[in-house]
C-alpha cells in the first residue's frame, strides 16, 4: 500500500486527528470509543488465550509444553506470530494464585489477550497489585483463603505472563471447544477465577 504520500499521513496520526475533530464537534467522546474498544477486546481479544487454556486443560502433554516454553506452545496454535516477546505461563494450584501486572507501564500478553483493559493501566492497580494484592483481589470479587499464596508477576517488554487457571471441577466432562467459553480474560490476568 502506498500511504507515504504527502496527502496521506500515517494511520495513527489520521485516527488521532479524526477523533479530535469529532470530539470538538460534540459527536462523540473518548469514553464512547473506549467503551466499544473495551467491549470488543473483552469478548474477542482474549479468545486466543482462552483457546490456549482450554487446550492445556484438555491435554496434559500440551500443558507441560506450555509451562515449559509458553512462546513455543502458543505458536503451536498459531498465536504470537511476529511478536518476539517471551511468554511465561504461570499455573494456579490449590495453594498458589498468580496475578499479572506491569508496574512500569502496561506490558501485557497481547498475542493471547488482545489489548489490556483500562484498569490494567491504572496506577492504582499497578501499585496495589504489588503492595496489597489480597485486598486488591477482594475488590475484584476474588476472596482467597489465607493459606493460598499470591505470586505477583511484573511484566516487562521482554517477558509477558499468562495465568493458567485451574479447571473448575464442574467442567470436568466438557470437551476443549466447550471449555473455551469458560475461560475469561480476568482469570488469565489473575484477578478472577473461571
Amino acid at each position: 500500500m502506498s500511504d507515504a504520500g504527502d496527502s496521506e499521513r500515517e494511520p495513527s496520526i489520521r485516527a488521532e486527528a479524526l477523533e479530535a475533530l469529532l470530539i470538538e464537534r460534540g459527536l462523540l467522546t473518548t469514553a464512547d470509543v473506549d467503551a466499544v474498544v473495551e467491549q470488543y477486546n473483552e469478548r474477542i481479544g482474549p479468545l486466543n488465550g482462552a483457546r490456549v487454556v482450554a487446550r492445556a486443560w484438555s491435554d496434559p502433554a500440551y500443558r507441560a509444553r506450555l509451562l515449559e516454553d509458553g512462546t513455543a506452545a502458543i505458536a503451536e496454535l498459531g498465536f504470537g506470530g511476529a511478536q518476539t516477546d517471551k511468554l511465561v505461563v504461570v499455573p494456579n494450584t490449590t495453594t498458589v494464585h498468580n496475578l499479572v501486572v506491569c508496574t512500569l507501564c502496561s506490558c501485557y500478553p497481547w498475542a493471547v489477550l488482545g489489548l489490556p483493559p483500562r484498569w490494567y493501566k491504572d496506577p492504582a492497580y499497578r501499585s496495589r497489585a504489588v503492595r496489597e494484592p489480597r485486598a486488591l483481589l477482594r475488590e475484584f470479587g476474588l476472596v482467597l483463603a489465607d493459606h493460598v499464596e499470591i505470586r505477583v508477576w511484573d511484566s516487562s517488554a521482554e517477558v509477558r505472563y499468562l495465568v493458567l487457571p485451574e479447571r473448575p471441577a464442574p467442567l470436568a466432562g466438557l470437551d476443549e471447544a466447550a471449555l473455551v467459553a469458560h475461560v475469561t480474560r480476568d482469570a488469565m490476568i489473575g484477578v478472577a477465577r473461571p
Binding site: 507515504a4 489520521r14 475533530l21 469529532l22 464512547d32 466499544v36 479468545l47 489489548l115
Partner: protein, 128 residues
C-alpha cells in the same frame, strides 16, 4: 458487537488473528461504532463505503493492518461525503499532529509499516 459486519466485511477475528495490531485500529473501529450508535450516520452508510474500500484490497494482503487501513478510509470517506468532517480539515489537523510528532523523539518513525504491533511504551500522548 453493536453492528454486524459479516462475510467478506468481517474484521479479522478468526484463525488466531490478533484483533487490533495497533491502538489506532481500535480507535477507528470504536469511532465507527460509536458514531453509528449516536446516529451521526447509519451503519448502512458506513457499510456501503466499506464494501467499496474492501473490494479494492489485494487478494493476499488481508491481515488486520490491511483490513483496518481500508476500514479507516471508509470511515473518513463516510464522514467526508456526509459533510460531517471535510477532508481538508482532517488533512490539516493530521499535518499539525504530524509536525508535533516530528518535534518529539519520534522523528524517523513515520513509516506506517514499521510498527504494526504492540507499542508497550506508547507514552507519546498519555502523559499530558
Amino acid at each position: 458487537m453493536n453492528e454486524a459486519l459479516d462475510g467478506v466485511l468481517a474484521p479479522p477475528l478468526e484463525n488466531g488473528e490478533a484483533v487490533f495490531e495497533a491502538p489506532w485500529q481500535g480507535r477507528v473501529f470504536g469511532m465507527a461504532q460509536a458514531l453509528a450508535a449516536a446516529g451521526v450516520f447509519s451503519w448502512d452508510d458506513f457499510r456501503a463505503r466499506l464494501i467499496v474500500e474492501l473490494a479494492g484490497r489485494a487478494p493476499d494482503g488481508d491481515g488486520a493492518f490491511e483490513y483496518y487501513a481500508h476500514f479507516q478510509r471508509a470511515l473518513e470517506r463516510t464522514l467526508r461525503e456526509l459533510d460531517v468532517i471535510p477532508g481538508g480539515l482532517l488533512a490539516a489537523r493530521a499535518a499539525v499532529l504530524a509536525a508535533r510528532a516530528a518535534d518529539h523523539d519520534h522523528a524517523g518513525h513515520a513509516h506506517p509499516h514499521s510498527h504494526p504491533h504492540d507499542h508497550d511504551h506508547d507514552h507519546d500522548h498519555d502523559h499530558a
